[in-house]
């Protein structure tokens, strides 16, 4: 993927998330929100290889996945504001996003819970003899769920067109990987031994990331079988909410610094800045992004609230 595109698409998501963080204390967005800050590059690169007929599923930390796939920004912000114009009309909030127009089927809140759904979507694609695939995004915590093993096993047995993306940010809320998984076992090896072609890369580095995503997708299309990519990432802020929480000391200061130095946006910015024309392009892009974000927040604020008299609607399908 081109550096400039990767940078601006990631920057757009970063700036959206930062605006949510900035406006969060106003208490107008009243739902648990898991920001993607620090992890934006992964879905940007993955989505670069997808069309809208490829499907995507995600977990509680889904904003970047939804946005990178092409999900409507206005509908997402309106959803955070609990408005009728939100992507689920105020029913689901930040953890239950959907935009069927772009193939982002759903994110769900329970850890590991959307992995089987994504496999089911890949099963539909196979039965319908389509050439498209499904992406399943989840974190390292989800790989400890039985649903992870069960889903990979079935995808391997049935040779389904699915790309599992494990964003390993090393923490399940405050619990580090070391207390949750054996030190000498990698998620990549685990998935490989289940029968899923598996890859690993640093999720902060554009070139290796692009390379593994391309290889995995080529593998899926060529072999009609599943692949998994484990990507090392880091969330910059707290598990849930708008703040930094490193005052709690659950992550070593040195570790945090190492990862902040490796911020994918910081790295790309440094590389792109070598070009003398970049500053002008950058300023134009930032202004465009900021306008889009302001429009989305205005849309959300000016949208009507949903009608509680319709609370029973859609309990059952017609």
């Amino acid at each position: 993927m081109k550096k400039l595109d990767a940078y601006f698409e990631s920057l757009r998501i970063r700036k959206i998330e930062e605006m949510i963080a900035l406006r969060y204390p106003e208490q107008e967005m009243r739902c648990p929100t898991h920001l993607s800050i620090g992890q934006e590059l992964v879905p940007v690169v993955v989505s670069n290889f997808l069309s809208k007929d490829d499907k995507a599923f995600s977990s509680h930390r889904a904003h970047a996945h939804y946005l990178a796939k092409g999900g409507s920004l206005k509908k997402m912000i309106a959803e955070l504001y609990g408005k009728a114009t939100g992507c689920t009309g105020g029913r689901g909030g930040s953890m239950h996003l959907t935009d069927l127009d772009c193939g982002f089927i759903a994110s769900t809140a329970i850890v590991g819970n959307s992995i089987p759904l994504a496999v089911g979507s890949a099963l539909s694609q196979k039965l319908q003899k389509s050439n498209f695939l499904t992406v399943s995004y989840f974190g390292d915590g989800a790989t400890e769920e039985g649903a992870f093993y069960e889903s990979l096993n079935f995808a391997a047995v049935k040779s389904l067109p699915i790309l599992f993306i494990c964003e390993n940010n090393r923490y399940s809320v405050y619990s580090p990987l070391e207390v949750r998984q054996p030190a000498n076992r990698s998620i990549t090896d685990l998935a490989q031994s289940i029968g899923v072609e598996s890859f690993h890369a640093d999720g902060n580095l554009l070139i290796p990331l692009t390379h593994v995503v391309q290889s995995a997708i080529e593998y899926i299309r060529k072999n009609n079988g599943p692949a998994l990519i484990e990507l090392d990432t880091y969330r910059h802020r707290e598990h849930c909410g708008p703040n930094f929480d490193d005052d709690l000391n659950y992550r070593a200061a040195g570790e945090v610094k190492t990862w902040l130095d490796k911020d994918p946006l910081k790295l790309l910015f440094a590389e792109l800045s070598a070009d003398q024309h970049f500053e002008k392009t950058h300023n134009e892009m930032v202004s465009k992004i900021e306008n889009e974000i302001n429009d989305a927040f205005l849309f959300a604020e000016n949208s009507p609230l949903p009608n509680p008299q319709l609370n029973k609607e859609f309990l059952y399908a017609k």
Partner: protein, 350 residues
């Protein structure tokens, strides 16, 4: 042809064949679905007719496979899953409760979940604590699920066919002891008909029995026995605890003023107690005797033959209670020699 006999299991099989033929996108999956026993004969011939892409055995992964079913359902595939026992399906509560039940609601009506899950309830012959649970009350508690609990051969095919074709997630609770129940083909309701989830299967003026699943078989026996004493019971079948036609029930209570409700599971915190509450809150002063609820005690079913003797209520439990409420003495019915089998056809193990 009309007089030819058919069984509960055959009607279930037939409904699946017709649904698969009707909807080319539909799939059937379940552990053992095409094994030599074909899930008590209920899935016979499906794979050979519709192919192994659409009818397939699956890994022993109840939770993820339920999720796979939901994922397939929301992306254009109609899905039927079968589990040989309810109890194993308890591993799938995350997918059932957090996804299937809520999906249509949570995503504001943008997607539907055409998924039906057949769960077979075991009983007796040593099924013990974890092969016999009747959890209609659990499932009915979750908004967004449809629960169907068939009782009779004449409508079981229609109920299953319509559950499959419905675009809502449906739990279809099938009692193992009903699989050999026989009727004539001519009596079976058309698959394409609209199911009557609350229906009167015996009319009577003296007493209302509200029942479903295998307990309805006991109620029918009690009904015939009590007729000999001039007591006419009305039996109302509740084939969907989540879709009760209250008007139908209330009309019966207004006529009979007496009521007994059977519960296929534990009576504590049950569908039966919910129905009872609805009747009491409307007819407290009209009722001529307290409503009785007859079901399982609040402890798991033990395994030993000796320990299960009085675990399940039967036709005698029902008829004696009704006779007591009406104020007459009656004799007991001579029931099966063994309390732990539905008939001599059942030799175990499942």
């Amino acid at each position: 042809m009309q007089n030819k006999t058919t069984t509960f299991a055959e009607e279930i099989n037939q409904a699946q064949h017709c649904a698969m033929a009707e909807d080319n996108s539909m799939i059937c999956m379940g552990l053992g679905i095409n094994d030599p026993k074909a899930i008590f004969g209920t899935t016979t011939g499906l794979q050979s007719k519709f192919g192994s892409d659409r009818v397939f055995d699956m890994p022993t992964s109840e939770n993820a496979m339920t999720g796979v079913g939901i994922g397939a359902a929301i992306t254009g595939t109609r899905v039927l899953m079968t589990h040989q026992r309810v109890d194993f399906f308890l591993l799938a509560m995350d997918q059932l409760v957090n996804n299937a039940a809520k999906w249509h609601y949570m995503f504001n009506g943008q997607m539907t979940v055409p998924l039906t899950i057949r769960l077979i309830i075991g009983r007796g012959w040593g099924q013990g604590p974890t092969h016999q649970q009747s959890l209609q009350s659990w499932f009915a508690h979750i908004p967004g699920l449809k629960v169907v609990t068939p009782s009779l051969t004449d409508n079981v095919g229609q109920l299953l066919y319509q559950s499959i074709m419905d675009n809502n997630p449906t739990i279809f609770l099938e009692h193992r002891w009903l699989h050999n129940q026989v009727t004539t083909q001519g009596k079976c309701l058309p698959l394409l008909g609209e199911p009557e989830f609350t229906r009167t299967v015996r009319s009577g003026k003296d007493y209302t029995i509200i029942s479903n699943s295998f307990m309805l078989s006991e109620a029918l026996q009690a009904h015939s026995h009590l007729l000999r004493y001039g007591i006419e019971c009305e039996i109302i079948e509740i084939s969907s605890p989540t879709h009760i036609n209250w008007t139908h029930i209330f009309a019966s209570i207004e006529r009979t003023k007496r009521c007994l409700i059977t519960e296929i599971g534990h009576t504590f915190s049950s569908v039966a107690s919910e129905i009872s509450h609805s009747i009491y809150s409307r007819y407290y002063s009209l009722l001529q005797c307290p409503i009785s609820i007859i079901g399982l005690p609040h402890y798991p079913e033990p395994t030993s033959y000796k320990l299960t003797k009085n675990y399940y209520p039967n036709a005698n439990t029902l008829s004696l209670k009704i006779a007591e409420d009406i104020g007459i003495n009656i004799a007991k019915i001579n029931l099966n020699k063994h309390h732990d089998i539905p008939g001599e056809w059942f030799k175990g193990p499942f």
